[in-house]
């Protein structure tokens, strides 16, 4: 359970240990998967440029691409699944949705490190601007990177008798959230929530969101959830328009299993979305159980590259046993930047001097 990216193996130490891990003295990855959703001109051109750069500078590397009619020249077809060719590095081009899509390709086993390029638009999961591709690729190939292991969730389904159904579905892994929603049913649905098998509450609402820390800035945020640092291992439960004054978002340890069961007396069934993709409809009596996945996504940090290559000291005086989590003191945290720049977190009311322009 490890991906050869540099001389050292990036061992996935499990979800409890989601610290950035720096890898030095790297040996180049040998296989790269390029993922894109759109085929806009900028994306197509960027792929060309990347392919040329890799071919010229890392001639031994095999580039793969999903099996689509428009597969770029020089790339081999890659098909997800248990027998998929092993991939050492994933490169995504596009918006946040492209990374969510890349995540969905790796449902079984460990996920290789992901290097994500934005096409000029800020995104929450997009550390690199496409214009910086040479620096980013060279660092990644030299192993001078750190990764943030973003937790994922997996889910399994039970029929109204409580028996597991459709077991191959267990393999679906989400980066953001699993959401249940009444969709276009006019009626509220009634969902029983269980935590580790114990009944927690009955929710009468538009729906419920079970989110990762990564997803806490996505749908859960819109529904009123807290913002959770992605290096924390936790599961967030956020209601969508509950018919109650006293529903409040809950944060559980990542060891919890959360079961959502459509009540037998629910007037509506509920559509289940995984990272925004509608996959199922759950009828009254049916349930879904959500757990932390064994396979987080190692996302390459932007800050790991813009800094001089040096090891991060592995302990943190104050908190012996936990040194792994979070970002070390003095270390720039992409997340803080994103919270401020993208979400405009806590934008203070302006008292700035009036310009002529704003006056009349």
């Amino acid at each position: 359970m490890g991906v050869v990216l540099g001389e050292e193996v990036v061992e996935y130490r499990g979800i409890g240990h989601t610290q950035p891990r720096r890898v030095t003295n790297g040996i180049s990855p040998r296989s790269v998967l390029i993922v894109n959703k759109l085929r806009t001109k900028p994306v197509v051109e960027a792929i060309e440029t990347l392919l040329t750069y890799i071919r010229e500078n890392y001639p031994d590397v095999q580039v793969y691409h999903e099996d689509r009619p428009d597969i770029p020249e020089g790339a081999k077809v890659w098909r997800p699944g248990p027998d998929a060719e092993p991939i050492d590095l994933v490169i995504t081009l596009g918006g946040d949705g492209t990374i969510l899509h890349a995540s969905s390709l790796f449902k079984v086993g460990a996920v290789p490190p992901v290097l994500s390029f934005s096409m000029g638009t800020l995104g929450f999961l997009l550390p690199f601007h496409i214009d910086d591709y040479t620096k980013a690729i060279d660092s990644a190939f030299a192993g001078r990177i750190t990764v943030l292991h973003r937790m994922r969730l997996s889910c399994s389904f039970q029929d109204s008798g409580g028996s597991p159904v459709d077991t191959h579905c267990d393999d679906w892994q989400v980066m953001n959230e699993i959401a249940l929603h009444r969709g276009s049913s006019p009626h509220l649905n009634t969902i029983d929530v269980f935590v580790d098998g114990q009944h927690l509450t009955e929710a009468v609402s538009d729906g419920l969101i079970v989110s990762t820390p990564t997803g806490s800035t996505a749908y859960s945020l819109s529904a009123g959830g807290p913002i959770v640092h992605p290096s924390l291992s936790a599961i967030v439960l956020t209601p969508i328009c509950p018919r109650s004054l006293s529903f409040r978002p809950l944060v559980f340890p990542s060891s919890s299993s959360i079961t959502l069961r459509i009540s037998e007396r629910s007037r509506a069934s509920a559509g289940l979305s995984m990272d925004g993709q509608i996959s199922h409809v759950l009828s009254p009596g049916e349930s879904v159980t959500v757990r932390a996945s064994l396979h987080p996504i190692p996302c390459i940090n932007r800050s790991s590259i813009t800094e001089p290559p040096q090891m991060r000291p592995d302990e943190d005086g104050a908190i012996g046993g936990m040194s792994g989590e979070g970002v070390g003191p003095g270390k720039e945290d992409d997340w803080v930047r994103d919270i401020n720049n993208l979400l405009q977190y806590n934008a203070t009311f302006r008292s700035k001097a009036l310009t002529r322009h704003s006056r009349s």
Copy 2:
């Protein structure tokens, strides 16, 4: 770093491992500290009863009490501090505030397990009703208990030049939260927030709360914060009446250090409360840094006693590396009960049949 409570040592495995830990084949604790705040008649009588019971059934045990004029007969005076007599078990009688007070007595080193009795009033941190004292004490003395390691926070102070001040204050440990508040100043204060040394935001508000998961149901809840399961290791930052539309509660890993610095241009200073006790006033330029404490409080679970004594299986199929956190499947969780009974979490709008009484 362990307290002899039973034959097995309850090792504090640090904050990252806050699972309930069952201890079997116990040897009785040898020293017990009784903590109470009020001296109401029920409390005084309950202490008498407990003392008699312990004297008769566990004659070798030494009972201690804080140094107050009203120290109960048969108890020896106990003074907190580095040279304090070692305590194997703490018994509290009173409300949630009594446990907060007990916590404040153990600022250095590990904390012994805490057995908390309510005096007939429900409390969030009060698992046992005083009427159940024999069962509770016998289980605790026999080591047939599990504990929830409730995380605490410690804090250190810096002057306006950034130099540490008043270092003996570092030892203060809180179970609920550290809160900064303008108090009775008419003006809002301006506080700069740093996470791991990096500037996060400037808060113009009534104040800020840095809370443990335990404290997430206390002041932070009132200020709009999420409810965080106490077995999670995390730090919650919740603003109090911020002058911003876009401030949202944040949840950090417990490895983070949070610095709150009163801005030089703040119009008001800020009173600092620890678990509700006002301790300092911070002036513009001064700051406090909050970190997870090395010394959580092991609170004895109610559910551990009412169940037949059996070991909890130590792994949790789904999530290998994290088996320690949370409450195992099928296991009753006091917290779920409290959320529902005390907070009336998600009380659904009533559609119950009308009684005559409610009609006219």
Copy 3:
């Protein structure tokens, strides 16, 4: 514009004057419309009982019912519309949804007073228990009642060029709200909001709710909106899961017109619901304009009946020009009861004595 209910005419004084208005020395209404949605046994039996009671005690009264296969014996068919038979009193039997349905039957012109019976279940819009039918009917027929004029909203539609479409739709009147929602589209929609023709904001969200004060305890509440007293004339705008940290519910005077326009670059269209009934889908470019309706619904107050018949003094010392709104001092307000009993408004955390039962 008045309905003969008693000797005095209940003049609809327009939305600005939604005060309860007591009518004395009544002459019986001559035509009654009975409205029900369900045909459950209790409903059917209750209708029988009412019909018998009216026939025996008010033989001159003509009872009407909507045109359905199951029209009760002795009732004449009533068809809504401009040529509908005039109705002096509406009686509803069922849940809140039944009153919403009754409201939808009166799209043109003034609405007669509405007497609403619950079938044993509390509802927000249901003042009377069916068991109290004799007292309620006698009071209503004798004109010893006050009504709360509940504001309604009407809406008109514009195509992407801004031209009005489908003008007969203007007649739809809602008591709770007009809601736009993405429904089962996976994508957020983008809606431009205009107030009195002026651009207010661009909302990227699941949808938006334009609510009456009556509707403030319905969907708007679930989405986080404030609770607005139904005797206030106001329009509430509440977003549904907005992708923004800084969207906050807005309250406008009832004179405002609110236009919601699906942005040309919205990735999703939006389903439009009126009091929970899905009626239209708005495509990018299309818009709906919402205004206070000229025709509020006069709902008979429960408290007006349980009290001895006496005129409410017409002025309110403090606030000369406004004496009409609200409920006079000392007067019981059904709404306060509902807020507490139904919504369990501000249910305080329990510190009640523990019973044996709750302990183990």
Copy 4:
């Protein structure tokens, strides 16, 4: 009850009618009160400039100033109270707090129109930039203005026996809010809330805010309240950090009277602030009753001046009886600008193109 500002009398038509009212063919006001709080250099210079301008262009006008050591040359001393010299126009220079202060000077009787200049900083209650003083003053003196009648609240106090106390205090009028807060007491206070004499709820919290629509963007906003358009006549009740999951802001008609009574069993007394000025401490048993004031503040609208002078049509097709409220269609509303520019209402998450600067 009217202030001669132009040829036509601006009649205060009471709080129910807070519409902008345009006054034409004006006769100059004869007495002007200049209000400032700070004596910073820009403020002092601005006062000089204004005085010179008025003296030269409106030689018959008498300028007044509060009785302070630093009264500007040429101004006569003005003392508030029942025998105060009549004032036809108030001019404020400073921040929002300066208007709040001006409001506090007019406790009895009607308030003259207020022209507010910001000193270069945006404010919510500050329509005019000081650089625009000639246009603003000329329009005001010529009566080519509209005013927004901003509602105020008055309050009276009752002792623990319910008898009125300190009756001269009734005269205090607030523009923003009356707030009760525990201040620097460590304990929560318990407050009983009554609406029109009827018990609504018992609040255990840091405090409560009773706010005008104007104040809805001040403290109430920070505490989570809705944003209410200032042309609506309403009273907002917003809790400050309530120990309840189910407290939600409430909006009442302006005819309501709200009584806040410190419960006899409250552990803390409560400091009472009026527009941010701490005035009283209420002890357990004591109460304050808040009502809409008879005397709103007529604030001169910015938009009324920058537009060509023309009458606003007096009716609003859709809503016959209510034509007075709000801002007419197509008319620019200062409030919409403020919501967007100052509060950054619904600032959407940025997806703008990355600049070089923001990338590394």
